[in-house]
């Protein structure tokens, strides 16, 4: 993190390290976004591809894994064929993969430059090998819950009763309470307790319930898989010592878990592999690690069956909007305005939720907190509160139980609003810290250590990172510059203010867009501090761009192919700037980097409230679309994010220095393990 060294000197050797990634793979031409065949032809031979590709939407690029799996059809089939399809949900997923269901998270892994085809295949077969084990784990977990349930609830009851007694009997000077009625069976308490347990239990049980194979069948499956695995190993002789792939990728797996996919279902499964992997040493670890390599498919919201299932579990009432744009049906879109009142009225019914987490969820839902950093900090502070108030239930281990708790909080937050990548990374960090807690620590020590970890994360990864970024970026501002920024980015705001404090003479062009008009608040603050600003909407971008000398943009995330994932409109601004050959500087903290690769803004995005784009506040004469929401011919699309191809990005300013977009994977790979995980 040497800031003074020049950009090229830092980067060059690292770039060479990443060199095994062909430039074409990391930075596909922007054209190929809409041409699937183009992308396919660049990947290894794919005999069945046209078939699988035909089911895809024209803009989606099939992940290379298909082709690799198809390229070795005998192996993948031998792994898949002996398995009856409805064996288990997990199993079904793995079967589906070669068939060609397209999942963004899959593509992440599949097209990730870090995995060689052989190791990937290995991961697939390993994964299928693990199925019975994971099912067994789930069962044992649920059994344990069931057995511990009566005792724990009983204890809760007695505690509650004594508490009530002391409250009533405490001879207080002012007025004493007389207990008028006591719930004898304390149904409230036991119900509460049960509710919490049922939720946990559901997580554990969901798998075994669906697993209807008999023992013999399972054994047969296992045998077949083992054989397939052996064959795979022989075939792919260059199986890497799984340290490189297995080491770098558990992170990706954990990241997937955080995604809205099948979050609750994954809960115990995440905790399970983490915990035993510490105790049991030996050949199991690589297995488990590799199992994690296969990402969980993200929830596809056009899959009615799974949406229904998820809805039943959901805490937040989610009524789906009806008219959704065809291309974005896989993203969740709910009728806005129905969730908040419903969640609010259920305030007291959600016992397992910690109040501070609940509060943050409400704030996400109502849009009070927005912006990657703010949301991440709010979430971490809520978790910190929750950890402070946490106490391990009897007969449970803190590591497991707390991880499950955090997972349930996270799934609640996802229901309120899909996670940002920065939050995903922070959750990953926290779970990692929990898993790595030494067993010798007492509960209070563990809790305080986690709390200080969270503080440190906020401080180092966000606050200090921002300061470093500001320090870097200010060097790029010269007197007489005209700086353009888009929307409202906290880092860019800091940069501008700091440069102003340093006495640099520059002007700011603030480009904003409907419907959020976030820029106005920023404009207000900048003008109040005495900066010279021009405010315009994005429609005028091509005109204003002529006079601009630098473009500073914030980002929600930077992906490992250099794609900048940011507020919708950023790509447009960057593209126009590129056309005018004006440098585009992206300011983004390194904790927002993600190893995912994304080529378009379709497969992973967020949909906002469609009403806000159809209505103009305060202009009743313009509301031509009023009550048109039910018209079948009208589909409103309010995208929140877009992806800026790395071609348009001149430089990314991060806390590790100023880097070209091609160097993002280096940061992700080199600094993740040592620094992000601290």
């Amino acid at each position: 993190m040497d800031v003074r060294r020049g950009q090229r000197t830092v980067i060059d050797p690292k770039v060479r390290q990443v060199g095994f990634v062909p430039a074409g793979a990391t930075r596909p031409p922007a054209r190929s976004h809409s041409v699937p065949t183009d992308a396919c032809s660049s990947s290894p031979p794919a005999p069945e591809l046209p078939l699988s590709g035909s089911s895809l939407s024209p803009v989606m690029i099939p992940p290379p894994r298909h082709s690799s799996a198809d390229g070795l059809p005998s192996l993948s089939r031998s792994a898949a064929s002996p398995v009856p399809i409805p064996a288990s949900p997990l199993r079904r997923d793995t079967v589906q993969i070669p068939i060609g269901s397209y999942n963004p998270s899959e593509s992440v892994l599949g097209s990730s430059p870090m995995i060689s085809p052989s190791s990937r295949l290995d991961a697939v077969s390993e994964f299928s090998d693990e199925v019975p084990t994971s099912a067994w784990l789930g069962r044992s977990g649920s059994g344990k819950f069931a057995s511990s349930f009566p005792s724990s609830s009983g204890e809760m009851m007695t505690m509650k009763i004594t508490g009530g007694g002391s409250g009533g009997g405490g001879n207080t000077p002012k007025s004493s309470l007389t207990t008028a009625s006591v719930v004898k069976a304390l149904p409230g308490v036991s119900e509460k307790d049960r509710g919490a347990l049922i939720e946990v239990q559901n997580e554990g049980i969901s798998k075994p319930q669906k697993q209807k194979t008999s023992k013999a069948e399972r054994r047969a499956i296992q045998e077949a898989q083992r054989a397939a695995k052996a064959a795979a190993k022989e075939a792919g002789e260059a199986v890497k010592p799984s340290a490189s792939s297995g080491g770098a990728l558990p992170a990706s797996k954990q990241g997937k878990v955080v995604k809205p996919s099948s979050q609750k279902k994954d809960g115990p499964q995440v905790t399970a592999p983490v915990v035993p992997s510490e105790k049991k040493v030996g050949d199991r670890i690589p297995d488990k690690d590799r199992k994690k390599d296969v990402p969980h498919p993200r929830m596809q919201f056009d899959d009615k069956h799974r949406v229904e299932k998820a809805k039943r579990r959901a805490v937040v009432n989610q009524s789906e909007a009806r008219n959704r744009v065809e291309l974005f049906r896989h993203l969740p879109q709910y009728i806005h305005g129905t969730q908040l009142p419903d969640l609010e009225s259920k305030f007291f019914q959600l016992d397992p939720m910690h109040p501070s987490v609940y509060k943050v969820g409400l704030q996400y839902l109502s849009g009070v907190i927005s912006g990657g950093n703010a949301r991440c900090i709010a979430m971490l502070l809520a978790f910190q509160e929750a950890i402070k108030d946490y106490s391990t239930p009897p007969e449970k281990a803190l590591v497991r139980d707390l991880t499950a708790k955090i997972s349930s909080y996270v799934s609640f937050l996802i229901e309120c609003r899909p996670l940002s990548i920065s939050m995903g990374n922070a959750i990953k960090f926290l779970k990692n810290r929990i898993a790595k807690l030494p067993h010798t620590l007492s509960e209070s020590e563990a809790k305080s250590s986690l709390q200080s970890d969270i503080d440190r994360f906020i401080n180092e990864k966000i606050v200090i990172a921002d300061k470093v970024i500001v320090g870097h970026a200010v060097t790029k501002i010269r007197d007489g510059d005209i700086l353009l920024t888009y929307g409202s980015s906290s880092v860019v705001e800091m940069i501008l203010l700091y440069a102003h404090e340093l006495g640099k003479q520059f002007r700011v062009v603030l480009v904003d867009s409907r419907p959020k008009l976030e820029g106005q608040a920023l404009l207000h603050r900048l003008v109040a501090k005495g900066l010279n600003c021009t405010y315009t909407h994005i429609n005028a971008i091509s005109y204003v761009m002529q006079e601009v000398t630098r473009v500073f943009l914030g980002a929600s995330s930077v992906l490992s192919n250099g794609t900048v994932y940011s507020r919708v409109g950023t790509a447009c601004v960057a593209m126009v700037a590129n056309a005018f050959q004006i440098p585009v500087l992206i300011c983004c903290e390194a904790y927002k980097f993600h190893e995912r690769v994304q080529l378009d803004s379709i497969c992973s995005n967020e949909l906002g409230d469609p009403d806000v784009i159809s209505k103009v506040a305060g202009r009743n004469d313009l509301n031509h679309l009023e009550s048109w929401a039910d018209n079948e011919n009208l589909q409103l699309l309010n995208l929140i994010y877009d992806a800026t191809p790395s071609d348009y990005v001149s430089m990314i300013i991060t806390d590790y220095g100023m880097i070209p977009p091609t160097s993002v994977p280096v940061i992700v790979r080199e600094y993740r393990r040592e620094h992000l995980w601290i």
């Binding site: 009533g168 305030f347 950093n373 906290s490």
Partner: protein, 450 residues
């Protein structure tokens, strides 16, 4: 439970409802559709999974009665603690008396005479979401007075006292001004600094303070401690907090006191709440706060938030604080808000207890209720009225828009319209009662034409 504690202020023997309530029947036990009014609140809370309640009753006797009734009706369902406070201490005094029992972060205070189906969770959640000091439930007041009888002069007065003058910000979430309608003479005063801070103030006169408040406990206790003269939550504490929201003395002082007592832990708590408050205002303010944090955050703590939750118009919400309201609520509970009563209505949209006896040619119209053991003679007609237990009603009696409590005897040929008849009243033959809202306790009446 979500760090909330619930206090139900059940009142005592309110003077406003003078003949209706008495030593025997404290306000909380006043029957609404033959159920004590307190049961509506308790069931509302129970449906929100709030089962640990503190019920504060004025007067020892009343407390005993209320406690006795609760323990009978809610055993095994709720965990209720009843606290007796001296009479005439007001709502603020009542809270002072139980303040030492409050430990949770926030306190939900509900008036015991509230008949409503607004989920308390919504108020609590709004309170939490904004990190407010106080959140109050505002609702559209129900239509007052019987629609078919014209007593417009009295109605206006009633209306005025029920509504509040409420000032809201454009998003209708922050409470910027509140005054009871009756207190407002001609002009209202709004602080300039509040106006300046919000830019736009929406003043409404169609909302009613429903007496359901969520308070931050520390602030509430500080206000109660420091302002000895405060008598009522509605008239003193809430307006005080609303008035001082931009130059908050209480929260600043209070929090500092707490900080002195327990160093470190509490201050970090403040730090977090402060952080969250400010992040809402300026998304990027968090780093300013970290820059500021070494210094004591007293400057920034000068403000607090007062919020309002406005119930939607479809929700029923009424307070039993006048005799007019009593008859209105009785009418509504068997009428438009019938889901509140908890009874199942017959196909004629009325409730007639199986043990009630009806004479020949007697008609009981829709939106009526006839409780157990009541007897009616021939050719009677009951419309939109509630008749309590064990009433004896002779022949040719007409009861319209009225509430007849328990053990009332009405002899032949009476006409009762728009009236409330208390328990044990004996009406002799051919009495005509029109719009007589408080017919005395245990009095008997012969042939009076009122």
């Amino acid at each position: 439970m979500m760090d909330f504690q619930v206090v139900v202020l059940a009142g005592g023997t309110a003077k406003k409802l003078a003949p209706l309530v008495s030593k025997e029947v404290p306000k909380a036990l006043l029957p609404v559709a033959n159920r004590p009014v307190l049961s509506y609140v308790l069931e509302l809370l129970e449906s929100s999974n709030l089962k640990d309640l503190i019920v504060v009753v004025e007067g020892e006797d009343a407390a005993l009665r209320v406690g006795g009734w609760i323990s009978g009706a809610y055993v095994d369902r709720l965990h209720v603690e009843v606290a007796a406070v001296p009479e005439d201490v007001g709502t603020a005094g009542a809270l002072r008396a139980v303040a030492h029992h409050l430990t949770a972060n926030d306190v939900l205070i509900v008036s015991g005479d509230l008949v409503s189906d607004v989920p308390p969770g919504a108020v609590a959640a709004t309170h939490r979401r904004h990190g407010a000091v106080v959140t109050t439930l505002l609702c559209y007041a129900p239509v007052s007075g019987p629609s078919d009888t014209g007593s417009s002069a009295g109605k206006d007065k009633v209306k005025k006292s029920r509504y509040n003058i409420v000032g809201l910000d454009p998003t209708r979430q922050l409470l910027l001004h509140i005054a009871a309608g009756a207190e407002v003479e001609k002009d209202i005063r709004v602080q300039k600094n509040i106006l300046r801070a919000v830019g736009q103030l929406e003043i409404r006169a169609d909302l009613m303070d429903a007496h359901m408040y969520a308070f931050k406990r520390t602030v509430l206790q500080d206000v109660l401690d420091q302002k000895d003269t405060f008598h009522s939550i509605r008239q003193d504490v809430l307006p005080y907090l609303v008035r001082t929201q931009l130059r908050s003395e209480i929260s600043a002082n209070g929090l500092h006191k707490v900080e002195d007592n327990a160093n470190g832990r509490v201050s970090s708590q403040n730090y977090v709440t402060w952080m969250s408050q400010h992040r809402e205002i300026a998304p990027s303010a968090y780093q300013e706060l970290l820059a500021l944090s070494p210094r004591s955050p007293e400057n920034a703590l000068r403000t607090h938030k007062c919020c309002a939750y406005i119930a939607s118009k479809s929700k029923y919400c009424a307070r039993l604080n006048s005799i007019q309201a009593f008859s209105d609520i009785n009418r509504d509970v068997v009428g438009e808000a019938s889901h509140l009563s908890g009874y199942s209505f017959s196909s004629q949209n009325n409730i007639i207890h199986p043990s009630a006896e009806l004479g020949s040619k007697t008609t009981v119209g829709p939106q009526c209720m006839l409780a157990e053991g009541s007897q009616m003679g021939d050719k009677c007609s009951v419309k939109r009225s509630i008749i309590g237990r064990h009433c004896r009603i002779g022949s040719n009696v007409k009861i319209v828009n009225s509430v007849v409590m328990n053990h009332v005897t009405i002899e032949d040929g009476c006409l009762v319209q728009g009236s409330v008849i208390c328990s044990n009243v004996h009406l002799q033959e051919r009495v005509v009662l029109k719009d007589c809202q408080e017919f005395g306790v245990c009095s008997s009446c012969c042939r009076s034409h009122l």
